[in-house]
């Protein structure tokens, strides 16, 4: 395939672009293989660059022969309006765009064509290797080891090449366990809390209706428990769903065979239910015309806030088991690709202060989500603006929900995070559409296949540059070593205006306020350094005065 085949029209004059918080732009539209570009006529060089991969849906309304209007509904939740003159041009532009946003072949994605125009000091592709991330756990104890059983992604296609498993479990056992767990996702270590309590995740056990069991799996789970300790298995499905999964070849760990593990069901919505929720939320947000609208009840009936509550709740429970009880926890849902990852990563944010730094948070995203095999490509292929008939059940804003949960904790503990809110917004945008290869594909195996690490730039290499990073730092940050327990009371949770309302509501004043905070902070730092400089100078002067004899030693004592 060539892009040229798809692009029926590459340039179109006299289009009017309407976008939120901007004046109407009158200019020329250009369509390239990856971008839609509108540049203004006239003096001011105003431009809009939009990746086709950012467009979720296109709505067209033709007005006879005079032309028509296109609504570009983006995955970053923005809605753009393009007025195009001329029926023929209009149809061509619309068809071209519709074809371009449906290009499925990952090799044609923009990251493979994007060339970074800066020097990469630290390659993000190799920054967060499991070997270094888990080095503390591996070195400290004799309990855990890195296994390369999955080095060619055959044992489990969604796992990375290196995983951390209990030391006394052989690779051959792992293969056996992989056959017993959904998607081959055998239990692996996600996080080790102080002491010996560990957090693990996996896919559901394939118990089936016949009640199959797997000795190796039982041995693995028992081996992580300290003597006379019990562990907890958190299943993020309802009891009923877990029960009925048996009929479809899945199931849950029966108490009989896992006597030291207590199973708890904490249902979290996922997949299309979540996407429907987001759709309802955005319908409410974008419906600005309905005057004394039922805004609050629409917000409530979208169930989005409730999803946040349930997810945070479950994460708190996991964190509680680890921190208060010192008990190990295994989290899984059906596949272990969605809500399990939300829960394990949120629990780490609550417990582990390292995860609240920029680097730690990047490592967390990399570990739990990217290497952990969250299928970004399928989940984010469509978003909430796609008509429900065209969606598939596996499109879901799981990652957005996770970021929203982080935002909630962030807003409750605004001094405990090194990064600012816009860091989360940035991650949200890049996870849907990006020039970087970090969120490409569904798992490490697929990325290796596409040669993404060699052929694309990593988001982390870009973000961690010192020209870029300061923009995303939280001026209020003070390292906080404590565990931070978020509140999930309904009035404590707030709609994330920075994502959901930003195209409807100008976020300017908030940003201005942050600038003031930042300035204050900088002035504080400047004054501090000034004081120490002056103090040093004073000391020098005193010493000098003493040497010259202007100041007698007794006088100096007084000064001191």
């Amino acid at each position: 395939m060539e892009f040229a085949e798809l692009i029926r029209i590459s340039r179109c004059d006299r289009v009017m672009l309407h976008r939120p918080h901007h004046r109407v732009l009158d200019g020329t539209l250009c369509i390239t293989g990856h971008h839609l570009i509108v540049s203004a006529h006239g003096e001011e060089p105003e431009e809009l660059w939009l990746l086709h991969s950012n467009i979720d849906a296109i709505e067209r309304r033709q007005q006879g022969m005079t032309g028509g209007t296109l609504w570009l509904k983006c995955k970053d939740l923005r809605i753009l309006q393009l007025d195009i003159i001329g029926a023929d041009q209009f149809a061509k532009v619309a068809d071209t765009l519709e074809d371009l946003i449906r290009v499925e072949d990952p090799m044609f994605q923009y990251p493979f064509f994007y060339r970074a125009m800066y020097n990469v000091l630290e390659d993000g592709w190799t920054t967060f290797l499991p070997e270094s991330e888990f080095s503390r756990v591996i070195q400290q104890g004799d309990d855990w080891r890195i296994s390369y059983v999955n080095k060619d992604y055959k044992v489990c296609s969604s796992y990375p090449a290196a995983v951390v498993v209990p030391k006394n479990i052989e690779d051959s056992d792992l293969v056996a366990i992989a056959n017993f767990r959904q998607g081959g996702r055998f239990p692996v270590l996600a996080y080790r809390h102080e002491g010996s309590a560990v957090l693990m995740r996996s896919g559901q056990p394939l118990i089936t209706a016949n009640g199959k069991r797997c000795k190796e799996d039982e041995r693995l789970l028992n081996s992580v428990l300290a003597r006379e300790k019990r562990g907890y298995i958190i299943d993020t499905r309802t009891q009923n769903l877990a029960q009925s999964a048996k009929l479809r070849g899945g199931g849950y760990e029966p108490e009989l065979h896992y006597p030291n593990w207590r199973r708890v069901h904490k249902p979290i919505d996922r997949h299309h239910v979540l996407l429907d929720s987001l759709t309802k939320l955005m319908d409410g947000v974008n419906d600005t015309n309905s005057g004394t609208d039922k805004w609050l009840s629409r917000l409530e009936s979208s169930n989005w806030m409730n999803n946040i509550k349930e997810t945070l709740n479950c994460a708190c429970l996991v964190a509680q088991c680890l921190d208060q009880d010192g008990a190990s926890v295994l989290v899984h849902d059906t596949d272990g690709l969605d809500s399990a990852l939300q829960v394990t990563s949120l629990a780490q944010i609550i417990l582990n202060p390292d995860c609240r730094t920029v680097r730690g948070f990047e490592a967390l995203i990399e570990r739990e989500w990217i290497q952990g095999g969250h299928p970004f490509a399928t989940r984010h292929a469509r978003s909430c603006y796609t008509p429900s008939a065209q969606r598939s059940k596996i499109n879901a804003p799981t990652f957005l929900l996770f970021l929203d949960c982080v935002y909630q904790i962030h807003s409750q503990f605004s001094c405990s995070f090194e990064f600012a809110e816009n860091f989360l917004v940035m991650l949200f945008e890049h996870s849907y559409s990006s020039q970087f290869g970090t969120f490409l594909g569904n798992n490490e195996g697929e990325r290796k296949n596409m040669k993404a690490p060699e052929r694309t730039a990593s988001l982390w290499s870009y973000i961690n540059r010192h020209e870029v990073l300061p923009k995303y730092l939280n001026p209020l940050y003070e390292p906080n070593q404590r565990v931070i327990w978020p509140s999930v009371a309904p009035m404590s949770l707030q709609l994330w205006a920075g994502v959901f309302l930003r195209w409807v509501v100008d976020q300017g004043p908030q940003e201005a306020a942050w600038l003031v905070v930042k300035e204050l902070r900088e002035r504080d730092a400047a004054l501090r350094s000034k004081v120490s400089r002056l103090r040093r100078q004073l000391q020098d002067l005193e010493r000098e005065a003493l040497e010259v004899g202007i100041l007698s030693p007794t006088m100096e004592l007084e000064v001191a």
Binding site: T292, Q320, S487, M491
Partner: protein, 702 residues
């Protein structure tokens, strides 16, 4: 450990503790530090709302150590924790080497309490000064504010806290407050409620009928969105005494007793009564001008008894004209200047409805007077009359002799209705809001319940009305006349809010005081009636949260423009607390005239004395003074409005701030100030040396 312990334990409420029988937190109690808000030392309780999570004794130990260990690492505000209980610290400036925040400890603990309940913390602070004085107190005797007397004490009373469960302790009643102390926890659990807050007191359970534990006692309904229940032991016969004392001192007006404000004699650095001088404020606005004059025609409150003594009126109108206009306006409340635009001379004037009646009466004088107001502004040949009411209500008022200006009679005037409902609708809305917010919040229907109260709808109406006025004055350079029926409820909301948007002076701390003194107090918002100070008729139809609604609107603007206000929401909460407390004379009585009659200014203390003397507690570190010349146009769609949860839900333990951001802000400001001072000193010292020392040394400095 006091203030800090609980702050570190910030873990809000147990809401997330969806417990299942297996997980029992050991070592640390999970929800340490959930205390009844309003208890003075809020760190007191280590009870959690979830009974099965409580292990208080070991918890306070490990929790404490965990937080103190974090102190070392965290630096910044965390280091307050340890030292904040000692109010003795902080004398003199710290040695240069020590981090400046250590010396702020006492300062900060005060503030931290003002977060939870500014009122109580203030009192706590004041009482401290008493204790520091001479009198030593028995351990169970509460420290009192100057002028306060202990009236009765009941032991073995149980406070039924809706969040942390029953607490046994001592209930004391003074002529100002109700104080409950429970020694069950360490530090003791304390609850203080000024009796002015009480709206109604009811006995629960009869001597013979009540069975079961805690079923015999009293329930106290408060004006600040909470109810308190105390259980008494029948055999102690303490309930009767407590109830009698409470009734007597909570409702002094009904018992022909003076308000506590008349006995309160705390000395403050600043004299709040002098914050507002009517003439000075008019002069600040640039009056008198060619077209506006200042008149003392109402000096004796004869022309209009609910208006202030000093008015600014169009220069073209003679005193006789004013009298004639007064006859045509409800209760003599004629259009008087509230605010004048410094450049365009467009004005906001306020008044009551014209007495049009069913027959459609007209008054040439009134029409001419409105024309004068319009003519005083050369920029525009039009004037807007904003009627705050829904048009249906305005029409209905004709039957009662009132009504609105017909555009036929008033040439060049355009009448607009702002659709704000009357006091009864607002009262009902707040009642519903209270049900939704206290004590427990329905997790699954929070938002729809909130919507059903329509509280935010009403806020939106008031705000957008004020916005419309500000827009007409600022963008269209057109003068606006504002009125509702009587011109003391909705009108006050609208003029005060639009002035707040237009004039940055009112967004400073003293400016806000002037705004309230002028638009609310001097123009006769009936505080006594609307709040029901010291009055036991809790179902009085004249009560209404009009002022609360105004403050809520101020908060909404503050939230949208965080750097445009010199004060924080803490000041707003403090003002609201003292709206009810009757500690200060500021909000007592209905009009300026009544206040002068009762000699409020000489016999009571002003709330502004407290606020201006403790300015640092209310200052907003994000305030940037160059916003003073900005005009704020807040957004008023529903998406931009939020429930002021820090006020309405503040008794809920889950509303405790998780991180003391405010303290940190304050600390930043403080540190900055200190460092600046230090730099100055060092610079001076250097300069001094330069002149004294030999030139050789001096040259080395550069």
């Amino acid at each position: 450990m006091a203030a800090r312990g609980q702050r570190s334990a910030k873990r809000r409420s147990g809401c997330f503790l969806v417990m299942f029988s297996g997980v029992k937190p050991d070592k640390r109690s999970k929800v340490k530090g959930i205390t009844q808000l309003g208890s003075r030392s809020s760190s007191s309780s280590s009870h959690s709302s979830n009974s099965n999570t409580t292990r208080s004794n070991s918890s306070s130990g490990s929790g404490g150590s965990s937080s103190s260990s974090s102190n070392n690492k965290g630096g910044g505000c965390k280091s307050h924790s340890g030292s904040s209980s000692g109010s003795s610290s902080g004398s003199g400036s710290p040695p240069a080497g020590t981090p400046p925040h250590t010396q702020m400890a006492s300062h900060e603990s005060l503030n931290s309490e003002s977060k939870s309940s500014s009122l109580n913390s203030k009192l706590g602070h004041e009482s401290m000064t008493v204790r520091d004085g001479s009198r030593t107190l028995r351990p169970d005797e509460p420290p009192l504010v100057p002028g306060e007397q202990l009236e009765g004490t009941a032991r073995e009373v149980t406070y039924l806290c809706p969040y942390v469960g029953p607490k046994k302790g001592t209930l004391s009643v003074t002529n100002y407050r109700l104080i409950f102390r429970s020694p069950e926890t360490d530090p003791p659990f304390e609850l203080e409620v000024p009796l002015g807050v009480v709206s109604r007191i009811e006995k629960v359970g009869g001597a013979n009928t009540s069975r079961g534990e805690n079923s015999y006692g009293i329930e106290i309904f408060c004006k600040d969105i909470r109810n308190l229940r105390f259980a008494h032991k029948q055999e102690n016969h303490s309930r009767r005494m407590v109830t009698e004392k409470l009734l007597q001192y909570a409702f002094p007006a009904s018992h022909k007793l003076p308000f506590f404000a008349f006995g309160y004699n705390e000395q403050y650095q600043e004299r709040g009564w002098s914050v507002y001088e009517p003439i000075a404020e008019l002069k600040r606005q640039g009056l008198p001008t060619e077209s506006w004059r200042i008149t003392r025609i109402n000096e004796q409150y004869e022309l209009c008894e609910t208006y202030p003594a000093v008015w600014a009126v169009p220069a073209a109108a003679s005193d006789n004209d004013l009298r004639n206009v007064a006859a045509f306006r409800s209760r003599g409340r004629i259009p008087v200047l509230s605010w004048i635009h410094p450049e365009s001379q467009a004005t906001i004037t306020r008044c009551a409805q014209p007495l049009v009646g069913v027959s459609g009466k007209r008054s040439r004088d009134d029409e001419a007077y409105i024309q004068h107001i319009m003519d005083a502004n050369a920029q525009s040949h039009k004037i807007f009359i904003m009627d705050a009411r829904p048009s249906v209500n305005a029409v209905a008022n004709k039957a009662k002799g009132g009504g609105y200006e017909s555009e036929d009679a008033y040439q060049n005037a355009e009448v607009q209705f702002l659709d704000i409902h009357n006091i009864h609708v607002m009262r009902e809305s707040l009642r519903k809001l209270q049900e939704v917010c206290y004590p427990h919040i329905d997790n699954s229907h929070w938002l729809s319940n909130l919507e059903a109260t329509h509280w935010l709808d009403h806020i939106r109406c008031v705000l957008s009305g004020a916005l419309r006025i500000a827009d007409k004055v600022e963008s269209h350079k057109t003068s606006v006349v504002v009125h509702c029926s009587d011109g003391w409820d909705r009108t006050a909301q609208l003029t005060a809010l639009s002035m707040l948007m237009l004039d940055g002076y009112y967004r400073t701390i003293p400016g806000f005081a002037v705004l309230l003194e002028k638009e609310w107090l001097s123009f006769g918002h009936k505080f006594a009636q609307r709040v029901g100070h010291g009055d036991d008729r809790h179902q009085d139809a004249d009560r209404s949260p009009v002022f609360l609604q105004f403050v809520d609107c101020v908060w909404q603007i503050l939230k949208q423009f965080p750097h445009a206000f010199q004060f924080t929401e803490d000041m707003l909460i403090t003002i609201l607390d003292h709206l009810y407390s009757c500690l200060f004379g500021t909000f007592l009585y209905n009009s300026e005239r009544e206040r002068i009659e009762k000699e409020v200014k000489t016999k009571t203390v002003s709330l502004w004395s407290l606020i201006l003397s403790n300015k640092a507690d209310f200052e907003n570190p994000l305030y940037s003074a160059n916003t003073k010349h900005h005009v704020l146009f807040p957004r008023t769609s529903m998406r931009h409005l939020c429930l002021w949860d820090k006020y309405y839900c503040r008794w809920n333990p889950s509303m405790r701030q998780q991180e003391p951001v405010h303290i940190r802000y304050k600390e930043l400001l403080h540190v900055k100030e200190q460092l600046e001072k230090h730099v100055d000193e060092l610079r001076k010292e250097l300069a001094a040396r330069q002149t004294h020392d030999s030139p050789r040394v001096a040259s080395a400095i550069v």
